[in-house]
Symmetry: C2
Subunit: 185 residues, 2 copies
């Protein structure tokens, strides 16, 4: 349990102790639930989102618009976009970012499937919603190059001051991006 992200060894020990004490009301139901999740949840064959069937709820939904695909690094980022309720198109989970240090190369990302979807789903715009980190932006540029010649518009999230952000707490890079992308009122 100490290997779970966000749990240090001490909190892991406390969680285990808590579960063992409540073995009938908590430990066993949790174990059953985990077993069931492990058996039924898999990756959407279309976008890589978590799914209980071949195709996830978002790919299957008639309410989501065709035409725009939002590319995210992993399912956690897809959830972040969905929580914000800002995007009504469909997603594509890359499955990672290029990272020479972690030995993740282009062949580990789901780019061929993305290219297939562009023609199959009549996509006009691919929005690269990748982290504003070095790895995220390197990956964004790589994917953008890979999509050249498909005729699709490739865009990236704007960089700037986060909502609620105070100038005095922002780093120089963010101020530079916010100033160079300033918008007329």
């Amino acid at each position: 349990m100490a290997r779970l992200p966000g749990l240090g060894p001490r909190s892991a020990r406390r969680a285990v102790l808590h579960l063992v004490k409540k073995r009938d009301t908590q430990l066993r139901p949790l174990a059953r639930l985990m077993e069931e999740v492990g058996r039924t949840v898999r990756s959407c064959l279309n976008c890589g989102n978590l799914s209980t069937g071949d195709v996830c709820a978002i790919c299957a939904s008639a309410k989501r618009q065709n035409g725009q695909i939002c590319v995210v690094e992993d399912v956690a980022d897809l959830w972040a976009m969905e929580r914000a309720q800002v995007f009504e198109g469909r997603y594509h989970v890359l499955g990672g970012t290029l990272s020479p240090l972690d030995d993740i190369g282009p062949e580990d990302l789901h780019i061929p499937k993305l290219r297939d979807r562009i023609s199959a789903e009549e996509v006009t715009e691919v929005i690269l919603a990748l982290n504003a980190t070095v790895d995220g932006q390197t990956t964004a540029h790589y994917v953008a190059r890979e999509l050249e010649g498909t005729g699709v518009i490739v865009s990236g999230l704007a960089q700037g001051v986060p909502v609620g952000g105070e100038l005095d707490y922002l780093d120089g890079g963010t101020l530079r991006a916010a100033l160079s992308s300033r918008k007329a009122f």
Copy 2:
């Protein structure tokens, strides 16, 4: 000392104790320095920056470009912009943001002087570098309206993902701004 921003009562007590113990090497020199700063430092008559003369070093510098004025809330924000080394024009310190709760109204902000400077310094663009908070953005819109008819371009800092920002940690408002201001690659 506990009234200083960033110092809680406990750190304030420790700082006082430290200064009293080192009264000759630290307390007295600090007191002299503070007295001198209080006597010599005042507000630049042109922009509101701190200054030892009538006009601050930035307003007086021939290296700074005329034509662009970056409007900030206070001197701390001016320092933040200068630390980032992103702006080569001149500044104007508003002296606060509109805040009904704190009883700060338009008459408390240095807007008339800003209007004077636009013609006197042949300004073509005013960049409102105000915080991305409710008060900051309310103030930005108020200043923009006050500058209508001056012929100057009024712009604001871009909102979006801060540099290094990871989607999973961003609030919905920031994701919305970043998506709606997305840029073609």
